[in-house]
């Protein structure tokens, strides 16, 4: 298969999930696009070593993760979660109309980075808790705790918003 066809197929198969991952990681649509583009360009250059899409996705995810960390080392001495970040409203508009999904998206956005990332790796990218522990370089027990707290926080937030809505 010619290289560009192979690459095009790869891009199509990984783009939606990778872009979502980059977005939840950075919470910045422009940075997310740059991270995705950068990682895919590297994939283009090493295409011969990427045999199948599943392995390629992990490889690309790790590049996005590293470049994102590097970006913050260079740009921002302040820990991200202390900074006020506005929610990009465009993220709320999606093909579905379910207001609960929009609320959930907002709640995920507001989770602390340490909770948000493992949750996205698990739910969106399908990694096991053991794999997430390796990716994030923490113990599996710590991953389980963060995932537990992340879901609890989201559910609590949604329940509170329901109450407010009902008043």
């Amino acid at each position: 298969m010619p290289k560009h066809f192979q690459f095009e197929a790869l891009v199509r198969s990984v783009l939606p999930e990778l872009h979502s991952y980059a977005l939840w990681l950075s919470r910045d649509p422009h940075l997310a696009e740059d991270l995705v583009q950068e990682s895919l360009l590297r994939a283009w250059r090493s295409l011969h070593t990427l045999r199948e899409a599943g392995a390629a996705k992990s490889w690309l995810m790790m590049i996005i993760r590293r470049e994102h960390a590097r970006y913050y080392e260079r740009q921002r001495p302040v820990p991200m979660d202390i900074q006020a970040v506005d929610f990009p409203e465009a993220l709320l508009t999606h093909r579905d109309e379910d207001p609960e999904i929009a609320e959930l998206r907002r709640a995920i956005f507001e989770l602390a980075q340490d909770y948000r990332e493992p949750l996205v790796l698990q739910v969106l990218l399908g990694y096991s808790t053991k794999e997430i522990a390796e990716i994030m370089d923490v113990s599996q027990g710590a991953v389980l705790t963060r995932l537990f707290r992340a879901r609890k926080q989201l559910q609590k937030k949604l329940a509170t918003e329901d109450e407010i809505a009902q008043k």
Partner: protein, 229 residues
């Protein structure tokens, strides 16, 4: 395993509770319903986490990979010449043939069949409609009436507005397609769907209903639509 341990486990990792967890779930009906709720929550979570990429990201990546500029503005400037110059890119930008367009529109309608039988006739609030259009680079210079659904859909490589408009003959689907350049009106007559794809200002609009042809709606959109490329 007791209830507390089981619930803790399923809240951390709903898809991998193991044999011991499964045994508890089978024996304890209150934890079984807790588990169902948790799995439903995860389905929603996954839905919420999936954010569609911007309409041109894929083509930008392909162009950048072929050794050209990576910035957006230059991309627009060179895109036209590249279509001719780079073999690989031609397949990206033109990977969907024009003849297949009516077919793809019908397929898309089936894909979102729930929209063909609207559950409510509530109008889409104006700010929501504006947001959908803005996100896809489309503008309406005049207000359009009776829009009961406005969503952004990934269609033939681009994010486009997918609207449902209420007419006297039932719901009419309107898809605004800035990137689909058609030379003349293409009729759609298939599976009980009647409609057209009309060329508008270098793009096109697909209008499909199942009753009489909604001329009024066509006129409204053809007049109002503006593409912001």
């Amino acid at each position: 395993m007791n209830c507390i341990d089981y619930r803790r486990l399923i809240t951390s990792d709903p898809s991998h509770v193991g044999a011991e967890g499964l045994r508890h779930r089978l024996a304890c009906s209150s934890c079984a319903s807790f588990a169902v709720e948790m799995q439903q929550f995860d389905t929603k979570l996954r839905q919420a986490m999936m954010i569609e990429p911007p309409r041109d990201l894929e083509s930008r990546v392909m162009l950048a990979a072929s050794g050209r500029s990576t910035t957006r503005r230059r991309w627009l400037a060179v895109a036209a010449t590249l279509v001719l110059a780079v073999g690989g890119v031609v397949t990206v930008l033109n990977s969907y043939s024009l003849e297949q367009l009516p077919d793809h529109v019908i397929k898309h309608l089936y894909h979102e069949a729930n929209l063909l039988v609207p559950v409510s006739t509530e109008l889409v609030p104006a700010p929501r409609l504006r947001q959908v259009l803005k996100r896809t680079g489309v503008e309406l210079s005049e207000d359009v009436d009776e829009v009961i659904h406005a969503g952004v859909c990934y269609f033939r490589g681009h994010l486009v507005p997918h609207l449902v408009v209420l007419s006297a003959d039932g719901p009419v689907t309107v898809m605004l397609l800035p990137d689909e350049k058609v030379d003349e009106t293409m009729p759609i007559d298939e599976d009980g769907f009647h409609g057209v794809i009309v060329p508008v200002k270098g793009g096109s609009i697909a209008i499909i209903g199942s009753g009489n042809y909604p001329e009024q709606i066509e006129r409204q959109f053809v007049q109002a639509v503006e593409w912001q490329t």
